[in-house]
């Protein structure tokens, strides 16, 4: 038998790497199964889901799928930890083989209510060896508005049905009573059984693969490897931290408003490297807010982790990687909200602004490794109404990209995905097939790239007309007040702009990037221009030939280029 592992508990570096790859592939296969079998386009197309393996003792992350949505980096270790704690305290029923718990409570290690977690104990010889868990973004979990993104919610109950950890599957069998309760509280429930089967099936696939891995290498060896992988991931993160010069780096990032009170929210961050530790101190950030732009602890932590992963992509996803990172100062701020504060914006928008603060602080320290700020908003435009031609109600979501920040090597990418996502935006043709709308334009947001030696990428400029019936428009976006930050002397990217034309009159919503329930009639339209990326380096240092090229291609007008780059010749 060529090159197979031995069955001893003494672990050599090769077996270690093989087991690490095996754990990773187990998670990747769970991700794949979940997306392929799912019904909801949010999971099947947008990959708004994640799968992982968690420690039996404290829920610490052992491995996570590489194609999971970035915003879920490390989050499920918090929900798994809560389940383990509640089982120990008797608040939650103890597990038996084949059980699968369901939970979406944001305050029990969650994100927003739409992110529904499944957690399954994985047994070896009658004892729990580890937990398998996954999260999927359900298209609806009840609440005031279809889809759950209410821009003006002021309490969790308005955002949807909140589930503490309960056993949805008991010894492998779906509990039809709990399922009936859930179905009676969510919209378009008919197809959700397909998603539930897909989500459970992913965990079962993971259990099969993990069993094969353990059978081949032995439980003791794999257990030793898991501990070793954690130690090595910590060492690797420390090696990355060593690239950061000792000292403190401060930055701020702003959220336009909470959707209810029209004032900006501030994220204040000071990153300090001391030895091989990196401390993220959020002291001075705004207090909890009235509207849904609060974050919960698990999401705030994950946002820091995902920003670090964008900077150091090759550190493995393991609890060890997070050990050298210390997050403090969130007590009493909107980054650690408690029941009943509304939180629907935490995963989509606040997380990206936390990541922006991390980028803006660390680009000062390691300017070659970090980019200027990316557009950093999911650009959620929701339209719900009635289509008389099809004789049915509809809920449409338009998510969109924006410009990425310039970096030390090149200009930023145009129309990139949000930092927390990895999914494609839907094609215009599919949107027009499905909903009673017509796009007048789907174009580059000209002039939006932040000026710099390497400029930011360009945002998107689209305009949608309602063709028939009636509809209500809602917006959960950001960066309407201030653009994505430039770095190293570069300028900020252009701000997000929303314009609504109703009855021939054009206006911008008071909260700029957030609004809810704006009634539209046929012929009324919505135009959105998404942010450009921040510029990197002094704009005056940009190669004049590149400025001329951007003008020739109509990306900037001559006047814009003259103002932004301050050195455009007359021709």
């Amino acid at each position: 038998m060529p090159e197979t592992g031995s069955n001893t508990a003494k672990i050599d570096p090769i077996t270690l790497a093989v087991i690490q790859a095996g754990l990773q592939q187990t998670c990747d296969e769970m991700d794949l199964t979940f997306s392929r079998a799912a019904f909801s386009p949010v999971i099947a197309e947008a990959d708004d889901r994640s799968d992982g393996i968690y420690s039996a003792s404290d829920g610490a992350l052992i491995a996570q799928g590489a194609r999971g949505l970035p915003v879920f980096v490390g989050t499920m270790q918090f929900s798994t930890r809560h389940i383990i704690r509640r089982i120990a305290s008797g608040e939650t029923l103890p597990p038996e083989p084949g059980d699968i718990y369901i939970v979406n409570d944001p305050y029990l290690g969650g994100t927003h209510l739409m992110d529904v977690r499944f957690a399954m104990p994985f047994y070896r010889d009658g004892k729990i060896f580890c937990w398998l868990s996954n999260t999927g973004h359900w298209p609806d979990t009840g609440g005031a508005v279809p889809g759950g993104f209410s821009a003006s919610a002021t309490a969790a109950e308005q955002e949807g049905l909140r589930l503490p950890p309960v056993k949805l599957f008991k010894k492998g069998i779906l509990d039809t009573e709990i399922w009936a309760v859930i179905c009676s509280n969510i919209r378009v429930s008919e197809q959700r059984i397909g998603d539930v089967q897909a989500q459970a099936s992913a965990l079962l696939v993971g259990a099969d693969r993990l069993t094969a891995l353990l059978d081949r290498y032995g439980d003791a060896t794999v257990t030793a490897a898991i501990a070793e992988i954690r130690t090595l991931a910590a060492a690797q993160m420390r090696a990355k931290i060593a690239l950061i010069p000792q000292g403190s780096y401060s930055a701020k990032a702003y959220i336009d408003s909470d959707g209810v009170v029209n004032e900006p929210l501030t994220i204040a961050l000071k990153v300090t490297r001391t030895g091989d530790r990196l401390t993220f101190d959020f002291t001075g950030s705004s207090p909890p807010c009235a509207g849904p732009m609060n974050s919960v602890q698990a999401t705030t932590f994950s946002s820091v982790y995902l920003a670090l992963r964008h900077i150091f992509p090759d550190v493995p996803l393991s609890a060890g990687a997070f050990e050298p990172l210390h997050i403090t100062g969130i007590d009493g701020t909107f980054l650690d909200a408690h029941y009943p504060r509304p939180v629907s914006g935490c995963a989509a928008e606040v997380s990206q602004r936390i990541a922006e603060a991390v980028f803006a602080a660390l680009v000062q320290a390691v300017p070659k490794l970090v980019t200027a700020a990316p557009a950093g908003t999911s650009g959620n435009f929701g339209l719900g109404g009635h289509d008389p031609e099809k004789g049915r109600d509809f809920v449409m979501y338009q998510i969109s990209g924006g410009g990425y920040g310039g970096n030390s090597d090149h200009d930023g990418l145009s129309n990139g995905c949000s930092t927390i996502g990895i999914s494609k935006a839907p094609p215009v043709e599919i949107m027009e097939q499905t909903f009673p709308v017509l796009y007048r334009r789907y174009a580059l947001h000209e002039g939006s790239g932040g000026a710099g030696q390497h400029r930011g990428g360009f945002g998107l400029d689209y305009e949608v007309v309602l063709l028939r019936g009636t509809a209500r428009a809602s917006f959960v976006m950001d960066h309407g007040r201030t653009g994505p930050q430039g770095a190293m002397g570069g300028s900020d990217g252009a701000v997000n702009r929303v314009e609504i034309t109703r009855g021939g009159e054009t206006f911008t919503p008071p909260h700029l990037s957030k609004a809810q329930d704006i009634a539209l009639q046929p012929g009324d339209s919505v135009r959105v221009r998404t942010p450009g990326g921040g510029g990197y380096g002094n704009p005056a240092a940009r190669d004049p030939a590149l400025i001329a090229e951007d003008i020739r291609l109509g990306r900037y007008t001559i006047e814009q280029a003259r103002t932004l780059f301050k050195r455009v010749s007359k021709d």
């Binding site: 008919e190 089967q197 935006a425 215009v428 043709e429 097939q433 017509l438």
Partner: protein, 677 residues
Amino acid sequence: MTNLIAGADVGGTFTDLVILNPAMGEVRLAKTPTTLDPATGGQSAGVLAALEQSQTPLDQVALIVHGTTTTTNAVLERKLAKTGLITTRGFRDILELGRRTRPHAYGMTGQFTPVIPRDLRLEVTERMDAKGRILTPLDEDELRQNVTKLAKMGCESLVIHFLHAYANPAHEQRAAEIAAEIWPTNYITCGHTLLSESREYERGVTAAVNAAVQPLLERYIRSLATALHTKGYQHDLLVMNGNGGMVPASQVSAEAVKTVMSGPASGVMAAVATGRRAGIPNLITYDMGGTSTDVALIKNARAPVSNEIEVEYAMPIHVPMVDVRTVGAGGGSIARVDGGGMLRVGPQSAGSTPGPICYGKGGTEPTISDANLLLGRLPATRFNTDITALSAIFGTKIGQPLGLSPEAAAEAVIRIANTHMAGAIRMVSLSLGADPRDYALFAFGGAGPLHATALAAELGIPRVLVPARPGMTNALGCVVADLRHDSVRTVNRPLDSADIAEIHAILADQIATGTDRINAAGVNLTNTQTELSADMQFIGQTHLLRVPLPHATPTRDDLQQRFEAAYHARFRVNLPTIRANLVNLNTSVIGQRPEMDLSRLIDPAARLAKPTPQTTRPVWFNGWLETPVYWRDHLPLNLHLNGPAVIEQMDTTTLVHPGCTVTSDPDGNLIIEVPNA
């Protein structure tokens, strides 16, 4: 003799030629360096040199089939014909905006260059809605002005790509008529003609790539055909398509985009033919070269074809092509110990320049190829490398940080590379609904046969097939490929409300069109086959499942039941309350050519009665083992060998691990049984 069949494949480094005499089974092979015409980038010189090397008079050749990377290279290097776009007002940036993605899941860097630059993308007033109803008529004057403008700007090719043209192509057709009056060349591509599906980015990129490679391909093929005719070739030249079938040179440039993945496709077709003759119809092809490893999954001796291939980041080409996936590491992948003390292999690669250390072209980082050399798995005689110095590099860079000897370090590098390749192969097969353990591994390319046995063990694959000429597989694919024409028609309707008569009519029409095209090629065929399928989903889903259809007149119940069975087989889920949606109807018409005799790819006269090692050399398998080294061409057909063994041939080394057994079949394929798998 005047009925020789020739396959000529141009690869990145070598141009390979296989000439078969179907009557006698006699084979001639030639291999020459790939040379590009400095003026045109044309690849003819290498092809002609190979033909010359084979000493074959071209008037005796009945058929030449050519696999070319002309269009592949043009796309990847963006060395494209100057191309203009006319599109619907408001949408000229679609080709630049893409689908809001980024190159890597983590990391906010990376760039993207659209196929057509912004100043050559012009808009015209016109609009269809999603049902194909005209909302705004085509402004013909504006169109004329813009077409004229693009011609004046020096564009050679033109793309006309309007929103919802898949639902109603009238505006695209009218625009093409008008443009044809003005445009200086015949190079006009309409978006709906190649791909009649919604998704404006994918359809637009497919059309744009077609237009941008069309003049290059046509010029190249025409010059090659002329050169061949001058040298006495009297028939049509045929060209490999990415779908694994061949088309006449006269047809190929109209749908030039279909040749973009033709190189990997011909390798898969060779595997199909070899496996069918060997009685091994289920194969995972494993093509490991210097910079990458490609795999494909062959079920029941059929090449896997997909309509959704992305040839690189944000470059989707949605025409039917053989589904070959790149899974990472090649021989040049670099090994290192990272900051946390973990051994890593790739994704950095030494590429072909400077290449691995053992190439002696200035490479200094240890690679997979170097590890194979250090462990005696590759013949030291083929490289001019100081093994002691190589050993020192492995000792310093890998061994010391991990506490391993240089040899153990090199073995670790190979083992990690195999683990990652195995994982990637498992993901590919699972995404296609297959368990790799039900397949045999078909190993080719420069390094495939070197790693295949260990990889099979890692994957639980019981058997490895190493074909007679692993380094000439693509050229062989050209010789054995069939003619093929694919049609895709989007229906996109709930099955319950679909018009069954219309479905039958569409399938009948697709069969008739494909059969006409195949017959028009004028190639000797034994048989024409059709393959029918439906792409379906449960209502509310977005992913599609391909459901094979046994005949062209399925009933509604037939379709629902076949879909439910296929879905259960794939996901182990039954959803009896949810109905199906019929998205696409697909037909492939395959004109089968006479079976080729592949038994003389290795000259029978050179075979010895018994396997006789040429020599022995120490090879590392958890320690040094003195291992017999055989010359492939001398092995008998009734072979039975036990590992360890090294089997060398012209351009490949096959490594047989201890515990494995090797036999041979009548075509000279090596069949390696991997125990405990």
